[in-house]
C-alpha cells in the first residue's frame, strides 16, 4: 500500500460496490463517471468485482430434480454435487448425517409486502437452491467442534443470562426468542450481531496487556479463533478484515490503516469473494454503521475526561443511528428513538461482558460469578429501553434512500469544515422537503394478501385504511407485517365478514398490534367470541350492520349490501361490502353462497373478490351478468376442496374477467392511483 494515493482503499471499495450492484441494477453504471475522482483503484475495483460476478456466477442447481442421498446437514444447509442448498423440512432438521429423499426447487420470492424474500437471503450466501425433503432418516450426529466451548460458556449461568451471553459473545440468537424482540425494540439488537464492536472490545482488552509490540500479534491470532467460534457472519468477517489490516500494520511498524481506507479495502475483498453478498442485511448494516463512525467521530473535538467519553459515546451512537435509520425502517419498520441512550448505557456492560465471555469460553464455570450480574443487567436494560417511543415507517423506495443520504451529505461536509453550516442546513432541507411532499399523495389501492387458503384484503382509500378479514390465527403475524410494510399505522375500519377461523383468526393479532377506529362485524358474532372480547378489551366501538348501511371512509365509501335478514348459517349471514374507491368499485363477497348473490344488487363494478375462495357454491351467472367485473380476485391456497372450482373459473372466463389468485401470484395489488 506504500506510495499509493491516499484514497486507493476507498476507490477500490466504491468500485467494488458498483461492480456488485451493476448486474442487479444496470442503470447504476451511469454513476461510474463520478468515480473519476478516485482514478485507477475505482475502475480496478469495478472491473474486478463485475467480472467476478459475471464470469463465475452462483451455479443454479437443476430445479425439479429428484435427489436421494446421505448428506450432512449443518445449521439447515447441506451440499449436493458442489451446490450449497437450504434444507426444508418440518420440523427443521438438527445437525447430523441423514438419509434424505426429496426434490430441488428454486427459493421463494416475497409473497407479501414485508414478507421474507428467501431468494435474496440465500443469494447473499451464495445459494440458489432449496432441497425440499419428503423423507428424512437420521443416521448419525454431526460432531460440532464448538460444542465444548459452548458448554463452558453456559456453565454455571442461569438460563436467561446464558442466552444473553450466547447472543452477545457468539451472535447466537436462537435461545433468546422473546428477549430478542426486546433488544430490537430497545435499539440494542446490533449488540447481538458479532461485529467490530465486539472485536474492538476484545482486541482492546488484549492490547492492554504489557507485551510490547507482540500484543498486536496475539490480538491478530485471536481473530481466526473468534471467526471459528462465532461463525463467519458478514459483520464479523468485515470487522476481522479491518482489524487484521490495522493490527498487521501496527505490528510491522507501519501505523494503523485509516478506518475509511481499511473499510473500503475490506468491502472490496468481501465483494470480490462473493459479489452477491451485497444483498445481505448483515453486511449492509455493518458497513454503514462503521462508515457513520468513521466519517463523524474524527471530525469532533471532544473535551477530555469523563465528559469526553460520554459525549463521544453519544455521538458514536447517533452517527450509527443516522446512517442506519432508513435501512432499519425499511426492513423492520420501527426505529427506537431512545436507541442512542440505550447504547450508551449498554456500552460499558458490553465492554466488560465480551472479554469476560471470551475468557469463559476457555475457562468455563469459574467465571460464572463475574458474568451473571452484568448479563442480568443487560437484559434489564433491554427490557426497560424497549418501553421507549418507536418511530414507525413502511418500506422505503430506492429514491427515498437516495434522498435521505443526499440530505445527510451537506451536514457531514459542514462537520468537516468543507461547507458553512448555514448553507449546509439549507441544502439538506431540500431533500427533506421533497421527502415530505412525496408522502402527501395517499395511495388508493386494494391488496389481496397471500395468507394461504384464506382471505385478507386491505383497501387503502386515500388516507384511511380498511382491513377486511385476516386469515387464520397463524397468519396474523404476516398480516401485521404487511400492514407495517405498507406504512399502515392504524386501521380506520376493521371488518370481520363472518365467524370462522379462516377469516377472523389473524384479526386477533391485528387488533393486538394495530390501533383500530371502528370494527364492522357480521351479526353472526356472539358476545363471547374471542375477537369481540379482544375488541372490547381495546375499547374499539363495534357495529353489526345490515344491508343499507353506508359510511364515508377516507376519499371513498363503504356500503353494506348484506345481510338483510339472518338465517342462522354463518356463511350465509356474512357481510357483503361494496367499496367505492373513486376510480373503481369493488364488491367483496366473503363466503356467501349463490342464493345470497342473487339477492344483491351491486350494479356494475370493476373488481370482484370472489366468494368462498372460488367454491362452486358462489360466483353465479346471475351475479356476473349484473356486476360485470373486469378483475376477479381469489384468495386461495393449497387446499383439499379443489378451490377454485373449474366451473367458477370457466364462468369468469366466459364473461371476460381477468382472474388473479394468491396461490399462483402471491399478494395481488389493484392500483387505483393516488388521492390528495
Amino acid at each position: 500500500m506504500k506510495g499509493a494515493p491516499s484514497s486507493s482503499g476507498v476507490g477500490l471499495g466504491l468500485g467494488g460496490l458498483l461492480g456488485a450492484l451493476a448486474p442487479l441494477y444496470p442503470a447504476l453504471l451511469l454513476l461510474a463517471p463520478l468515480g473519476l475522482r478516485f482514478g485507477l483503484p475505482f475502475f480496478l475495483g469495478l472491473v474486478l468485482v463485475l467480472l467476478r460476478g459475471l464470469l463465475f456466477p452462483v451455479p443454479e442447481p437443476p430445479y425439479g430434480f429428484r435427489v436421494e442421498g446421505t448428506p450432512a446437514v449443518r445449521e439447515g444447509f447441506t451440499r449436493w454435487e458442489g451446490h450449497r442448498l437450504r434444507v426444508k423440512h418440518f420440523p427443521p432438521l438438527e445437525d447430523g448425517v441423514y438419509h434424505l429423499r426429496g426434490y430441488l426447487a428454486p427459493p421463494e420470492l416475497r409473497r407479501n409486502p414485508g414478507g421474507f424474500d428467501e431468494r435474496a437471503w440465500l443469494l447473499a450466501q451464495g445459494i440458489k437452491g432449496v432441497f425440499h425433503v419428503e423423507q428424512a432418516k437420521r443416521l448419525s450426529a454431526l460432531p460440532d467442534p464448538r460444542t465444548s466451548f459452548r458448554a463452558r460458556l453456559a456453565e454455571g449461568l442461569s438460563p436467561p443470562a446464558k442466552e444473553a451471553l450466547e447472543g452477545l459473545v457468539l451472535g447466537d440468537k436462537r435461545g433468546l426468542e422473546d428477549a430478542y424482540l426486546l433488544f430490537q425494540k430497545a435499539g440494542l439488537a446490533r449488540l447481538l450481531a458479532v461485529s467490530g464492536l465486539h472485536l474492538g472490545f476484545l482486541v482492546g482488552a488484549v492490547l492492554l496487556l504489557p507485551l510490547g509490540r507482540w500484543r498486536y500479534l496475539l490480538a491478530l491470532a485471536l481473530l481466526p479463533l473468534y471467526l471459528f467460534l462465532a461463525g463467519p457472519s458478514p459483520s464479523l468477517v468485515r470487522a476481522s478484515l479491518m482489524a487484521g489490516l490495522s493490527l498487521l500494520g501496527l505490528f510491522l511498524g507501519l501505523g494503523a490503516a485509516g478506518v475509511v481506507q481499511a473499510l473500503g479495502l475490506a468491502l472490496f475483498l468481501q465483494l470480490l469473494l462473493r459479489p452477491e453478498a451485497i444483498l445481505g442485511l448483515g453486511l449492509q448494516l455493518s458497513y454503514l454503521a462503521v462508515l457513520g463512525l468513521a466519517l463523524v467521530l474524527p471530525a469532533l473535538r471532544l473535551p477530555p475526561g469523563l465528559k469526553g467519553y460520554l459525549f463521544g459515546g453519544l455521538a458514536a451512537s447517533l452517527a450509527v443511528q443516522a446512517f442506519l435509520a432508513p435501512l432499519l425502517l425499511h426492513r423492520f419498520h420501527l426505529l427506537p428513538l431512545l436507541s442512542p441512550l440505550a447504547n450508551l448505557l449498554a456500552a460499558p456492560v458490553v465492554a466488560l461482558l465480551v472479554p469476560l465471555g471470551f475468557l469463559k469460553l476457555l475457562l468455563g464455570g469459574a467465571l460464572a460469578w463475574a458474568v451473571e450480574p452484568p448479563a442480568r443487567g443487560l437484559l434489564f436494560l433491554a427490557g426497560a429501553a424497549s418501553q421507549g417511543p418507536l418511530l414507525r415507517l413502511g418500506e422505503i423506495s430506492p429514491q427515498g434512500f437516495a434522498l435521505y443520504y443526499l440530505g445527510l451529505l451537506p451536514p457531514l461536509l459542514a462537520l468537516h469544515h468543507l461547507l458553512p453550516w448555514r448553507k449546509a442546513l439549507l441544502l439538506a432541507s431540500l431533500p427533506a422537503l421533497v421527502g415530505l411532499a412525496t408522502g402527501l399523495p395517499k395511495p388508493v389501492d386494494l391488496w389481496l394478501l397471500d395468507v394461504g387458503q384464506e382471505d385478507a384484503l386491505l383497501a387503502r382509500m386515500g388516507g384511511a385504511e380498511v382491513l377486511v378479514d385476516g386469515g387464520r390465527p397463524e397468519q396474523g403475524e404476516k398480516v401485521v407485517r404487511a400492514l407495517r410494510a405498507l406504512g399502515v399505522e392504524a386501521l380506520e375500519v376493521l371488518v370481520a365478514t363472518h365467524p370462522g377461523a379462516d377469516h377472523d383468526g389473524g384479526l386477533l393479532k391485528v387488533v393486538e398490534e394495530v390501533p383500530v377506529g371502528l370494527a364492522l362485524l357480521s351479526p353472526a358474532y356472539q358476545e363471547d367470541h374471542p375477537l369481540v372480547q379482544a375488541l372490547r378489551a381495546k375499547g374499539v366501538p363495534i357495529l353489526r350492520p345490515g344491508a343499507g348501511t353506508a359510511f364515508r371512509v377516507g376519499k371513498g365509501r363503504i356500503q353494506v349490501l348484506w345481510p338483510s335478514y339472518l338465517s342462522g348459517d354463518d356463511n350465509q349471514d356474512g357481510l357483503a361490502l361494496l367499496l367505492d374507491l373513486g376510480r373503481a368499485k369493488a364488491l367483496l363477497l366473503a363466503d356467501l353462497p349463490a342464493e345470497v348473490e342473487e339477492k344483491l344488487a351491486p350494479g356494475p363494478v370493476e373488481v370482484l373478490k370472489v366468494s368462498h375462495h372460488g367454491a362452486r357454491t358462489g360466483t353465479s351467472e346471475a351475479l356476473l351478468a349484473q356486476a360485470r367485473p373486469q378483475i376477479a380476485l381469489i384468495g386461495v391456497g393449497k387446499n383439499p376442496f379443489g378451490h377454485p372450482h373449474p366451473e367458477v373459473l370457466e364462468r369468469l372466463q366466459a364473461h371476460g374477467v381477468k382472474v388473479y389468485r394468491t396461490d399462483r401470484m402471491g399478494a395481488v395489488r389493484v392500483d387505483l392511483g393516488y388521492a390528495w
Binding site: 426447487a105 421463494e108 395481488v668 393516488y674
Partner: protein, 102 residues
Amino acid sequence: MVLGYLLAVALLALLTLWPKLAPRPLPVRVEALAEASFTPPAPEPVSLNGASLEELEALPGIGPTLAQRIVEGRPYGTVEDLLKVKGIGPRTLERIRPYVRP
C-alpha cells in the same frame, strides 16, 4: 458542486412525484408480487409391496386401517390387485393410482 447537488435532488423529486401525479389513462392496473413459475415434480410412486405403513397412510384416502390391510394383502402383481383389499373400491383406486406401483 452545489449545482450538481440541486440537480440530483430535483431529479429524485421528479422520479418520486411523477408517478403519483401523472394522469393515467388506464383506470385500473393490477400487479402481482410473485409469479409462480415452478411446480414441484410429481411424487415418486410408492411400492405396494415394499412401502412402510407410514408411507401408505400418506396416500390420499388411505387411513391406518386400510394401510394395515394393504400390508396384509401382499404381494401384489399389478396395481389393480388392490381391488381385492376390503374397503378399496374402483374410486379409491383411481385416486391413489398416480402415487403407487406394484
